[in-house]
């Protein structure tokens, strides 16, 4: 019994991190059809900047703000000056965003060096508590809480606010949105910045348990892709469900079938694809 509770909590904490990253990716892709290979770069940059701020000030909140801000700025620069002219052009986006991946990762390597690091856990959340007869780290519970809060926040944004409605309309039918007279450039820029923000938050929140090291950007991207395929592209609900599935299946898969650990992330994806090519909540393109 304790085993199942523990593993479920583990899986959930990993899921919440995945959700932050996948949600950003799916929003950007769903609305603007942009495949941003540099999505992991937001995480990378944010985590390193957060690390520096944390070491300098000791404040987790300040690090959270600084890291996210850095990610947002990067996102705005990428979108306004570079990506904007390649609307609906997949291949050009691939080369462009890949170029950014190389630039950001090498700059981070140059500035922060190649040593793998972790962000220190915010004070007050270090340590572990007893749950169902087993020890569980407090910080992970915080991650679950934060993840759920963000999920609710995003849901409110999408379902209850005017901007959310605009985004939903845009995901459904971009032409209509253009025709309705709303400044679509602003919406695009804002959504891209939001996606970057979420990934940046992921960098600081995930920093204490995943860490930051050269190569984590591609790693994060792959995870985001898997979640988004399973959940369905363009759907926040899909990103949430996809993250839950991936986090839990990965966790239980590794615990129950450790010899197949390498496949626990890709196997569910292959199965879902075989049944529903657009993911659980996704919609096939017109």
């Amino acid at each position: 019994m304790a085993f199942w509770i523990l593993q479920t909590l583990n899986g959930l904490s990993f899921s919440m991190l995945l959700f932050l990253i996948a949600a950003g990716f799916t929003l950007i892709f769903g609305l603007m059809k942009i495949i941003n290979i540099a999505h992991g770069s937001f995480y990378l940059l944010s985590a390193y900047i957060g690390l520096t701020i944390l070491h300098a000030t000791g404040s987790f909140l300040l690090a959270l703000a600084a890291g996210s801000l850095a990610a947002v700025i990067l996102g705005i620069v990428m979108e306004s000056f570079f990506l904007r002219r390649f609307h609906m052009k997949d291949l050009q986006q691939v080369l462009l965003t890949f170029g950014f991946v190389l630039v950001i990762s090498d700059l981070c390597l140059w500035i922060w060096g190649g040593n793998p690091q972790t962000l220190p856990i915010p004070s007050g959340f270090e340590g572990s508590i007893w749950i169902a007869g087993m020890v569980f780290p407090i910080y992970r519970l915080l991650v679950i809480l934060l993840g759920v809060l963000f999920a609710i926040g995003l849901w409110i944004f999408q379902e209850k606010t005017k901007i959310g409605a605009i985004v939903r309309a845009g995901v459904d039918d971009e032409e209509m949105l253009r025709g309705s007279g709303i400044n679509i450039q602003m919406v695009f820029a804002a959504v891209f910045a939001l996606g970057a923000l979420l990934a940046g938050l992921g960098g600081i929140i995930g920093g204490p348990f995943v860490g930051v090291f050269p190569g984590v950007d591609i790693w994060i991207l792959l995870l985001a892709l898997v979640v988004v395929i399973i959940g369905g592209v363009g759907s926040l609900k899909g990103a949430f469900v996809g993250s839950l599935l991936v986090g839990l299946i990965d966790n239980f898969g590794k615990a129950l079938f450790p010899q197949f650990s390498l496949f626990t992330i890709f196997a569910p994806m292959a199965i879902i694809l075989a049944i529903r090519p657009s993911g659980i909540f996704g919609r096939l393109e017109k």
């Binding site: 972790t118 569980f136 966790n251 590794k254």
Partner: protein, 396 residues
């Protein structure tokens, strides 16, 4: 007109490096050493440390050996075998190096082994631990100054049983060649002594979350004596911190190879690493005159502490230079140079250094424990097993 400009640019671009023929080496010409290491990606730190250590020794001899100047040529392997082979070809065929050194990643080492043997260029491996490189796949041109995967672990299997009282253990390492080879080394001597292995667990490389595996380990508390583990890089940081977070640190002690609690990770692992007993062929805290001198020189030049890979690079350089001196600078006499390399012996920062018959290093293995001194986390030596080769077996 624009077309013509593009075409002309293309021509200039190509000519940037076309028409550069090979230059034959003559005596009294500088000796070129080609160095291969990754400077991007997850292994970057190992590469830069290794290179810094290597260059420190060259600095100490003022880049001159047996009257000839030494030229250091550096290439980035990206820890990718196909890039490694291309760069090796560049060093050998375009730059005409007389000897190669470095290599962090075993895949790269395997990939260039045939090539250096065919081209008769000696290679002094400063890290890549793939066991077969100095056994089944050995070559007269391949030397290794670092360790073979499993080498230190042979000593640890015996030591754990005989001195630490470990009778039953769980084995954990990442699921790739180095992980398996090191685990095999440990289990070989451990089982030979009568030890029992409860379970072998191999999480994938770069596992973000060891929680699923750690939760299983909780069931072994009280049933096994220790968990033997090997992890490196960000895996090591995550494993050790998560090990403590899941309450295992004090209930199920670790016996691990030094990579897992390397000084570079201790600032991130902090108290989670405190007290962990581990072993390695080198220790920063090793109290010998040679090690103290090495550390002082390294810190003076680079402003940071040397580690295992720095020392390996340093020893690699010294080995090559000592051999050059033995053949009085005539490195072009391949057979003599190889013979000289094989016979190199000296006192390294890690202790006595020499090669075995298969051109792999024989070295001491130090038993260490993570302690905190003056606010700094360090691995402090408390024992050692001398003269461990890749074939070491205990006397029962």
């Amino acid at each position: 007109m624009k077309k013509l400009i593009y075409v002309a640019l293309g021509g200039i671009f190509l000519s940037l490096f076309a028409f550069e023929g090979p230059m034959p080496a003559k005596a009294a010409e500088p000796i070129k050493i080609g160095f291969l290491a990754p400077y991007v990606g997850v292994y970057t730190k190992l590469g830069t440390d290794m290179r810094d250590g290597f260059k420190l020794y060259l600095d100490e001899i003022k880049n001159k050996a047996a009257g000839r100047e030494i030229l250091f040529l550096d290439e980035d392997t990206e820890a990718k075998p196909e890039v490694g082979t291309t760069k090796t070809r560049k060093l050998v065929e375009k730059d005409n190096v007389s000897v190669l050194a470095g290599i962090v990643h075993s895949g790269v080492a395997y990939a260039v082994r045939d090539y250096v043997t065919e081209k008769k260029v000696p290679l002094v491996i400063c890290n890549a631990g793939a066991a077969k490189l100095t056994t089944d796949e050995r070559s007269p041109y391949v030397f290794r100054v670092s360790f073979a995967n499993g080498q230190q672990d042979l000593a640890a299997g015996w030591y754990g049983y005989a001195k630490l009282g470990i009778k039953k253990a769980i084995v954990m390492a990442p699921d790739y060649s180095a992980g398996h080879e090191k685990a095999d080394g440990f289990m070989k001597t451990f089982k030979f002594m009568g030890g029992q292995v409860g379970e072998e667990i191999y999480p994938p490389l770069e596992t973000p979350d060891y929680a699923p595996y750690l939760a299983k380990l909780v069931n072994y508390v009280g049933k096994v004596d220790r968990v033997w583990a090997f992890f490196a890089g960000s895996d090591a940081i995550r494993f050790v911190t998560q090990y403590q977070q899941y309450g295992l640190k004090d209930k199920l002690k670790l016996w691990t190879i030094g990579d897992t609690v390397d000084e570079t990770f201790l600032p991130s692992q902090k108290d989670a690493a405190l007290g962990i007993e581990n072993y390695l062929h080198y220790a920063f805290t090793l109290d010998t005159p040679e090690n103290k001198r090495f550390i002082k020189a390294y810190e003076k030049k680079y402003n940071y502490d040397p580690g295992q890979f720095s020392e390996q690079g340093y020893v690699g350089a010294k080995t090559i230079v000592k051999a050059i001196e033995m053949v009085k600078g005539k490195i072009e006499d391949k057979d003599a140079f190889l013979k000289a390399l094989r016979s190199v012996k000296f006192e390294a920062p890690r202790g006595p250094f020499k090669f075995d018959d298969y051109q792999n290093v024989i070295e001491n293995v130090y038993m260490r424990r993570v302690e905190k001194k003056d606010g700094k986390y360090l691995n402090v030596v408390f024992d050692n097993v001398p003269d461990v080769s890749q074939f070491w077996m205990p006397k029962k």
